[in-house]
Amino acid sequence: MSPRKIKYRLALVTMKTRIAFVIEKIRIKYIDYLTAALEIILSATVGFLIAAILLYFMGYNPYEVFGVLFRYGYGNISYLLSKSVPYIMTAMAFSIPLIAGVFNIGGESQLYVGAFTALLVSYYTANPVLGLLAGIIAGGGLGLFISILRLYRNINEVIAAIMINWTMYFLLVYLLTGIFHDPKISHQSIQVPESAWLGELLSPWGRIKISFILAVIGAIVMYYILYYTNLGYLLRVSGLSPLSARYAGYNPNKAVLCSMLLGGAMAGLGGALLIIGDVHSIDTTMSTLYGFGFTGIGIGLLGRNHPIGIIFAAIFFSGLLIGGQWVELKTGAPPQLTDTIIGIIVIALAIPYAYRMLISIVRRWRMK
């Protein structure tokens, strides 16, 4: 090839890249916002539409049901926020490990042990701070335990977590009914002494529980750790691309351990906040504690695995739960139906994100 030809070709290539560059610039700047907004609007519409059709065929007036759902669900701000506390924490217990590429299904049991140790410590010391710390340590410790099983004993973390969930469930039922039950009230555990209760703050929107404020602070701290520190960077890189983490001189195993420790600690704190800040005792059928961990998974996805997003997702979800109960009362719809409606809406909102996440995880596995 002659030099002139090469020069001409080079010029052509640069011109092509210039043009592509301008188009790219416009596209990249807005595409993320646009797709995110479109995605949420579309999935919300689809979710509500399916729910409405279902309601219609079940013989209920969708308009009326949705009216009750939203009016009552989001009417009482104080109750709404306090209800969202454990969900914020268990959602983070799922999302933080996920950012580092680990599935933590154990938020449920991490919340149990957090709640239980917080109950014991605050019962014996009458000190809420010690109670909260105990909850954090217990939850974090259990999370760490699962990750140690995975790393050093090669046990799948999902299976380990599911088994531990049930072990902890029955262990707690035994301890609550057998040893730590309240002698005066049947079917209740011992109570957190009143001096150790977390109070409420007055605000223009009514009373706000201190436990909610602590939960928000917890989420903000996690946000800071994830996006502003060395450790958070390690977690995110390991989750997105373990090979890159290794290349940069990080140890991806450390990311697994740290993320499970942090996630477990958040679930533990959630349990502690619930007990010390809100319900003060656990009933012996465990209905006070059951289900937060599992619901947290959905909320984590709904909040796009982002601590700040999770706060709003948890509040949104709590509103649906509260409103759902009112729907049962007002329209006589069975609880299964309201659960279904909530499920449809949440799934519709979380699906596009969950789908993309799954794809990236599959890709990561293939790369290995």
Binding site: I28, K29, T229, N230, L240, S241, Y247, A248, Y250
Partner: protein, 507 residues
């Protein structure tokens, strides 16, 4: 020869990938029934693409395929299997925790849903008797050595009535003894009338096992020859000969003192096999040492060991006289070592933006004592990368995945340059880049050399090695075959060395 039955005829095969890369140009490929046909070429010559087309995995942009004289159009591998074509990949497709029998059954029921385990067992026994080709049917696959696993793969494809067997670089995972056994087995298969296509880049193996060989170069067929009629030299020349596209002027320069010394390095690959076998070299200030070799001959393991992200079995590494053999990667980076990996998938986190990707190897420069990342400073470095390497990007916060390959590569190289390290290990720096970006990266490497940096350039691209290197080393199966000034190497000699032929054993 002319009257022999044609097993496979591919005519005018043209393949353009969606991203515009032309993988194959008008390739004709004819295989006779019952022969062992070698398919030879460098990395990226199109060998695997051609075979994947034959196996129905990808569709040709245009071209005709005839199997045993019948024109076919494949929609997927299942069509190819039905026509009696079987492929054995480099990476096996066996379930490691199943027994051999279970694996055979698993693949067999996909074409014969009514078959029972007993049928498969009987069929397999019969087949093994005919071929004199033994595998333990009750053994769990993961407990078997690689060579036996490969036999299981071959039997698996034969069970599905394969008459044409494609082997994709089958010896790359084998020890020399296993290779010998494989060759014996292949000869038996040939006697039984099975046609074999053997993809490889090792000249010695081509001479040893094949009847005829087709050589591909950059997506074109160079020629098909009878193996007896050519020497390894001829094959090497066919494989590597090329026109030089453009020339980069390299200033003459006297290299300085050795700054990076490697002594007798032994490193294992991911499977635990020795991949680097006693490599030693010195890297001097202001020189580029080009390490040539065909992919998969220990280059990646060597580079990773040098960078500190792979365990070193034996040997020592010195940086400025200091022993760094036992230091972690991040420690080595902060001492002035830089490593640009051969894959952008490793070097870059695609879902992160340019700033975050810059931080990846610059972490020690942007961290406070309280472990907080100074994102302001990080952004400054990212801007520096963009300015210095003329990266075309909408902004420093745009995700890396939206950048073109060339610009991604520039970020990966640039973030090392701004750290001002003294020793660079650069692997495949221009892989998959267009002409402009390639030239830019190569010039950047030369200017680093002129600034007295020491550079180890690991590349499978011979043009790159010839253009940039002050010294050249050739690696084959984890050993340095030869080292010297570029003048001492002709393309032909390089090709021979890369194919594992040392001068003294030429035919």
């Amino acid at each position: 020869m002319g009257n022999r039955e044609i097993a496979i005829e591919m005519k005018g095969i043209h393949k353009i990938y969606p991203d515009g890369v032309i993988a194959l140009r008008d390739v004709d490929f004819v295989v006779y029934k019952g022969e062992i046909h070698g398919l030879l070429g460098e990395n990226g010559a199109g060998k695997t693409t051609l075979m994947r087309i034959l196996y129905g995995e990808i569709k040709p942009t245009r071209g005709i395929i005839k199997i045993f004289g019948k024109k076919v159009k494949f929609h997927g591998p299942w069509d190819a299997i039905r026509h009696g074509i079987g492929m054995v990949y480099q990476q096996f497709t066996l379930v490691p925790t199943f027994t051999v029998e279970e694996n055979l059954y698993l693949s067999y029921v996909s074409i014969e849903p009514k078959a029972t385990v007993k049928d498969v067992r009987e069929k397999a026994m019969k087949l093994m008797d005919e071929l004199g080709f033994k595998v333990p049917l009750n053994a769990v696959v993961e407990t078997l050595p690689v060579g036996i696993q490969q036999r299981v793969e071959i039997i698996k494809t034969l069970l599905r009535n394969a008459r044409v067997l494609i082997l994709d670089e089958p010896t790359s995972v084998l020890t020399p003894i296993e290779t010998k056994e494989l060759f014996n087995a292949l000869r038996k298969l040939k006697e039984a009338g099975i046609t074999i296509i053997f993809i490889t880049h090792k000249l010695r193996e081509v001479k040893e096992i094949t009847d005829r060989v087709t050589v591909l170069r950059r997506g074109r067929r160079v020629g098909t020859v009878a193996t007896d009629e050519v020497t390894q030299k001829d094959l090497a020349r066919m494989m590597v000969e090329r026109e030089v596209v453009f020339k980069i002027v390299r200033k003459p320069k006297e290299p300085g003192q050795p700054v990076f010394v490697v002594k007798d390095l032994w490193v294992r690959d991911d499977r635990g096999l020795m991949a680097v076998k006693g490599v030693s070299f010195e890297l001097r200030k202001g020189e580029i040492l080009g390490l040539a070799g065909v992919q998969g001959n220990g280059q990646r393991e060597l580079a990773e060991a040098l960078a500190g992200i792979r365990f070193i079995d034996k040997g020592e590494i010195y940086l400025y006289g200091e022993d760094i053999t036992r230091l972690t990667a991040s420690k080595r980076y902060s001492l002035g070592l830089a490593y640009v990996p051969d894959s952008r998938r490793i070097g870059l986190v695609y879902d992160m933006n340019i700033v975050e990707n810059t931080v990846l190897t610059n972490m020690y420069r942007v961290i406070t004592r309280t472990r907080r990342i100074k994102w302001g400073l990080a952004s400054k470095y990212a801007k520096e990368v963009i300015d210095k390497l003329e990266v075309i990007a909408p902004g420093i916060t745009s995700p890396i995945k939206y950048l073109s390959g060339g610009n991604q590569q520039k970020v990966m190289v640039g973030r090392e340059i701004i750290r001002e390290p003294t020793v660079f290990i650069v692997a495949e720096p221009t892989q998959g880049l267009d002409v402009g970006a390639t030239e830019f990266i190569r010039k950047t490497l030369l200017s680093l050399r002129d600034q007295d940096k020491a550079i180890l350039l690991i590349s499978t691209d011979l043009d790159e090695i010839m253009q940039l290197s002050d010294r050249i080393a050739v690696i084959f199966e984890g050993k340095i075959m030869a080292m010297g000034k570029p003048e001492e190497f002709t393309l032909e000699r390089l090709g021979l060395l890369m194919g594992g032929v040392i001068e003294s054993q030429e035919d």
